[in-house]
């Protein structure tokens, strides 16, 4: 037994090494990438003029989703002395994925279920609580949250704080007092709907979407009037054009996305009604084009044989008008998605000066393993380059825009398909990347996971899972389950990378002094050099980090860095939910790759705020 297991181990290591070598080979970029200088689009940052407000008013810092702050007091030279200024324990054991907000001298955080909102007075010492709001969501909502009972943050606009609850309410609070201003119910727990995403406020509209792609939920993005909470419009991700808000203005770049009611006809009869395409990622907005951008999640069920067709408009990206929600263009990252490759990952907006003039771009690192550069005015794919290990597809056809799937890796009922890479959480899941206009690089937290899977019949029972795949995940080539990399989007190449043993499930932050912050699931919070990736500082926190780090200038003029620790989320649920690591299919197969995590960290939510001595 010992000998055979050793032999198996040797074989596995050899195979892994082989794959690693194979993985080192990168194919040529699919398209001639645009070249030139990258500058940040409008928004509040305006790095050209050097204006930095020192606040962090939106989860991604700005509408372009950069997570870049121009603050530069904490530098590569002094970051080694960074220390804890104050902490706050939330008393909640589940995954803390939210970004704190800092507006003026107040910090706002929203917790996982039961979705408390805490405001801290930053003028008082050590994060004195200012007010707390209790949302009291329905307890049964916990039972339909696919991937831990997380919340990814709040939004601030014009004296109000907006956030979503797990039981499908969007709530507006008076930012000064925490008093509830309005509370709108948007979905049904009984149908499997939850809400976990961070809202974005654009032109007086609060944009929110639903979660539940593993429960046959029909996805939507909804705009609420920021003053009243009334629904201004709702755009579904499946169904007739009228429901999807597709009208005369809709001009998708690729022919395959043109037609009447494709959200009905690209499905077997009636399947679009339980077809997924939920909206739970981050929303971006370009004020010049007046377009907002967001991704749609996986089609349901995961078992692709029960939903023949392209399954529009799932696993893709919409550009819409904020005023009435009308769709302007759409592009499908993964037509007829085979692997739960949600298309919800954030899009970073940036402008490039090219030899042919300025070009408005959109950067997106998809679950399917490709880093896309799109023309965000019309949805044309300019380049799509593998940024992780991919066995499920061979490139993107830039004429048709279609992902070229590998037929042998297509899952079937009753057949186990091996070495599906990336696995269902993708080369990168929700964990948001950062973009620095100073280095013109993207900083990408990602996964290195593969899986074996077998299709099974999925039965639709409202409010219960609608999946139909048995999955076992494992580390990808090299054995490291995570990677943190710096990526040159215009050169379509990796500049440096750090192998991380665990999936990097936290967001990234980059500053004006070329410092990059991210955390790992064993509770290490790190600062690395944005140019080289050299580790400059780290701290061991109470629990694994799956939150989004931010930085701000306090009322005392000092620069602070804040992040939640509190392991959880799909990758980390094994710890707080005490899942059984002897069942490889637990947590939709993720537990098989995370069996050691309960020994390496513990559950519990803490807000950490760091500064220089």
């Amino acid at each position: 037994m010992q000998a055979s297991s050793r032999a198996a181990e040797t074989l596995f290591i050899a195979a892994t090494l082989g794959l690693l070598v194979f993985g080192c080979h990168r194919g040529p970029a699919d398209a001639e990438p645009p070249t030139g200088r990258v500058v940040l689009i409008g928004g509040r940052l305006a790095p050209a003029s050097g204006v930095e407000d020192g606040e962090w008013r939106k989860v991604a810092k700005d509408d372009a989703n950069t997570r870049f702050s121009g603050l530069a007091t904490i530098t590569p030279g002094n970051v080694a002395t960074l220390r804890v200024a104050w902490t706050f324990k939330t008393g909640i054991a589940r995954g803390h994925e939210a970004a704190p907000l800092v507006v003026g001298s107040t910090m706002y955080v929203v917790t996982p279920f039961p979705n408390r909102v805490h405001a801290f007075d930053l003028k008082a010492p050590n994060g004195t609580p200012k007010w707390t709001y209790e949302a009291h969501p329905e307890a049964r909502a916990q039972g339909v949250a696919c991937c831990d009972v997380v919340n990814r943050g709040a939004a601030y606009d014009d004296g109000r704080v907006f956030f979503n609850t797990l039981d499908d309410h969007t709530i507006a609070l008076d930012a000064a007092t925490g008093r509830e201003l309005w509370n709108t119910k948007l979905g049904e727990v009984a149908r499997g709907e939850t809400m976990t995403m961070a809202p974005l406020v654009v032109k007086g509209r609060v944009l929110v979407g639903n979660s539940g792609g593993e429960l046959g939920v029909r996805g939507w993005l909804t705009a609420l009037d920021a003053r009243t909470g009334e629904i201004a419009w709702r755009a579904y991700s499946t169904g007739p054009d009228a429901d999807v808000l597709i009208g005369a203005a809709f001009k998708p770049y690729y022919a395959g996305d043109r037609g009447v009611d494709l959200g009905v006809h690209s499905w077997p009869p009636e399947r679009w009604k339980i077809g997924g395409g939920t909206v739970w990622g981050f929303v971006s907005y370009d004020p010049e084009l007046d377009l907002l951008y967001y991704g749609t999640a996986n089609p349901g069920p995961w078992n692709n044989e029960q939903r023949v067709g392209d399954n529009k408009w799932t696993s893709g990206i919409f550009a819409r008008r904020p005023a009435d929600g009308s769709a302007v263009w759409f592009y499908q990252w993964s037509p007829h998605d085979l692997y739960d490759y949600d298309g919800v990952n954030e899009s970073v907006l940036a402008d490039a000066d090219t030899p042919n003039g300025p070009r408005k771009l959109l950067f997106h690192a998809d679950r399917n393993g490709y880093l896309y550069v799109l023309d965000r005015a019309n949805g044309q794919v300019l380049s799509a380059t593998q940024f992780g290990h991919v066995t499920t597809s061979r490139g993107v056809d830039l004429t048709t825009g279609r992902l070229n799937y590998v037929a042998e890796k297509q899952p079937h009922v009753g057949q186990t398909v091996h070495d599906i890479c990336p696995g269902s959480p993708g080369a990168k899941d929700w964990q948001p990347m950062a973009f620095s206009p100073k280095t013109a690089l993207l900083y990408i937290p990602h996964n290195n996971l593969c899986q074996d899977e077998e299709g099974m019949q999925a039965n639709y029972i409202a409010g219960t899972p609608f999946v139909g795949e048995a999955i076992k995940m494992r580390p990808g080539p090299g054995g490291n389950r995570g990677v943190f990399s710096a990526w040159d989007p215009l050169g379509a190449r990796e500049v440096w990378h750090i192998d991380e043993d665990l999936p990097v499930w936290s967001g990234a932050l980059v500053t004006g002094s070329n410092l990059v912050f991210y955390g790992t699931m064993d509770g290490t919070f790190k600062a690395v050099d944005a140019k080289t990736g050299a580790l400059l500082w780290h701290a061991e926190l109470d629990s694994g980090v799956v939150g989004q780090p931010i930085t701000y200038r306090g009322p005392d003029g000092k620069q602070y860095v804040a992040v939640f620790s509190g392991v959880g989320g799909w990758a980390g649920a094994v710890v707080p939910a005490k899942l059984d690591v002897t069942d490889p299919t637990a947590a939709l197969g993720f537990v098989n790759a995370m069996r050691d995590l309960p020994q390496r960290t513990r559950a519990g939510g803490t807000l950490y705020v760091f500064t220089l001595p």
Binding site: G143, G479, L579, P584, Q599
Partner: protein, 171 residues
Amino acid sequence: MRAPSLLLLALLSAAGCRRERRSFSEPSPLQARVERAEPLPSGEPLSHFLDNAWAVSEGARLFGWYNCAGCHSLGGGGGMGPPLRDGAWRYGGAPADVHRSIVEGRPNGMPAFGPRIPDYQTWQLVAYVLSLSGRLRLDVEPGRPEAIAIGKPPVMVSKKLPSAEPLPEAP
């Protein structure tokens, strides 16, 4: 040549007999906690389900069919819902408690399946759920399913695994 062959055959038979002398009805350590005395409202004794291999295997099939596996996972390790193979019970682990959880639902997310599932199937599910934590007689426990869940997980290659404590083995 014949004599040694016969001798060998006899020895093998004897060895075989010894292998077959398994104690089918030996209770598992947790089994004592399963209360069997109370009959069902229909008058049918509970043992018709809990001591019945066919009922348990039907429960295993229904566990997938009614999407129990979607939340509690194919092997009962949990996910959206809590694990069912660890011996910890939020709402009680007696057969009647598990039955009530399935029929009426529970406040933290377990839906009520009462209107959807005939009562005899609910008891088959109860039997299967109890088998996941080894609380039924060994001879009625379900066999190895053919699904992907079974088998030793691949060797984890990791640079930073703590050396002192090896990973728990899959069954």
